[in-house]
Symmetry: none
DNA sequence: CATGAATGAGTATTCATTCAT
DNA sequence: TATGAATGAATACTCATTCAT
């Protein structure tokens, strides 16, 4: 899978930078991150970043868009493959947890680091993508309600709560060093119990 | 209540600064905030901040400590005043939402803006306080389990989920402009349904 | 005339910076000058410049405006004090030569360093001021034509030529190390001979 | 006249670059110009410039030398072809104006953009060439004095003034959008009137 | 020869912190 | 105490120059 004889995959370097940026921005936030560190982590020179992105802000912007796009596509695929709604939710959690973790991180950065109109614009784009994901989850919940498996609830709020639930899993595993499997089961049990008839 | 003839209540100016800092840090994160803006919002000179705090980091540190301390004290008082466990949870939500919102904001800042060992230290202090609050909530849940009102669940995880639940309320009211009362009822219903026998 | 006991004249530091900037910009052009060097020559810290000017471009802008303003005021005063038109021209040269040297330098910088729309704007302001000076000189020439001392010529072109003439004096003294007095007399003689009846 | 089948005239690409450089340096000065823009305007790759010139500074250096050399050769030829001295001066102006415009631009750049000893060296070379041109003009003036057509004046200063006069024409046509022919006649009339017996 | 992707030295600008008043 | 003018370390960004293809 590696490039042979110095032949590079197209866009390889850009992806290297995006991956490095994801890592650094997640750890330090936007203002706390330096282009220098992103470059070092990507293994490229500082100037190279500006070959692919017009500014630090543009890099952040493209990163968010790419991550959200990938998340939506992947989650949609997984949901369509699954059978029952309860199974769909479980799969969403188990397979989508990494995605949601990134959603959390981006959300955190965006919600606490607004400086000007341009930032609001980026925030707006994020919220649009975020709504897509909420819509995706609320679709599953609606399906469950139609099948009579779930109680009649506000599906958007329930979807929102579902993400809050995932957030709990992420926090409990990250901060408290819990085993992920245990957390998933316990938290999902509580959520499903809450929503089921 | 106002100070007369320039006579100031002790610590009044320090509190002004802390309040201003809470506001600014919440909106811009740590690196995105400037001492200048905090000073202006507090209505004091930039140098004055350094009369009460040794550095921007120290201000942030003291802010977190103060906010958490106040939160724990207030929540403990409200819980002790309430009667049944379900009522305790409802009161925790209704009365404690502002506290939790601040908890969210601080958590976001801390989790995404780590630069060095000193930051980790601050993070550690925050986590200790955070655990106090988790303990406080898990205490209520344990009480409910003993009374047979709640199912036998992992009380720490449930407490964690409870905060995730509150997070949902905050997000749905903030981002989606939902009415707070409706969100509270719907989300609390789901949580209680999930945890009850 | 010096400030006593550390008491500073108002705007003193801003003027220090403007003087240093005049010197550096004249020698190196806009792009060739560094804020660092201007700061050092002004004997202030780099950051101090940004206390008085919002950007390097703003410093340049304010410098041009200030220099042109001073030049126009001073030249107008000298002309009004003089008697005959030929005397006026001589005085304009002798007393105004330093001003014109600065006019030359600024003009050179402006005419060769245009990068964007903002630059065109600055250039426009300069041209307005430049026209004021042309108008001032052409006024003297018109006066001379009315008195019958000068031939009927295109007064604006003649004024333009007068500045070209001064430029010659400046170049011949600066580059060829000529004595200023000799250059003034010789060149002025040629100009007056050319314009007189 | 076009190259056929990719076969290029020797030095053709080098000339393309020199022409592009002349244009860009004239518009933006030395520090304001980028190698990138020069390459684009020349229709070659950025790296190609370094095939013909060792550095940006070297390109500038060679450009000045080439322009001055061409100017001197061409002006000498035109002067030798003309008859009377007054006619020589007129021809110098009419035919040499484009050359003098470039002289002006290069002079402006050189006089305002000195950074180090190396620059002084380039400036020195320019001054030598400049003196050749002054000598060329002062030769014509001397000729006129010998013929009794011109007054006895400092021929070097007069030559200097002649270039200042041309500068006026260039400025009045460039900045004030005057018709070139009118400016030439008016300014030349003043100069000749000034120098003639 | 020709190219342009990659690079890092160099610069404008910001902002936490100090200190004279 | 309280202040804000002054500062320079830190950082985003540019661009001359190199070098693999």
């Amino acid at each position: 899978m590696e490039d042979r004889m110095g032949q590079e995959l197209p866009g390889k370097k850009k992806n290297l930078i995006l991956e490095a940026a994801a890592e650094v921005f997640a750890r330090r936030g936007f203002h706390g991150s330096t282009v220098e560190e992103i470059a070092q982590r990507a293994g490229v020179g500082k100037g190279t970043i500006y070959e692919y992105f017009s500014s630090k802000k543009d890099l952040f912007h493209q990163l968010i868009t790419a991550v959200m796009e990938e998340m939506i596509t992947d989650l949609r695929k997984r949901i369509d493959q699954a059978g029952e709604v309860q199974e769909k939710l479980r799969i969403l959690v188990e397979e989508g947890l990494n995605h949601f973790q990134r959603l959390e991180q981006i959300s955190k950065i965006l919600m606490t680091e607004v400086k000007n109109a341009r930032d609001e614009e980026i925030k707006e784009i994020f919220l649009q993508k975020h709504e897509s994901i909420i819509g995706l989850i609320s679709g599953v919940i609606e399906e469950g309600m139609k099948e009579g498996r779930f109680r009649q609830v506000d599906k958007l709020l329930a979807a929102q709560l579902f993400i809050g639930t995932l957030s709990s899993i992420i926090v409990s595993t990250t901060i408290y060093n819990r085993e992920r499997k245990t957390s998933i089961n316990a938290v999902l049990d509580l959520f499903l119990h809450g929503i089921s008839t």
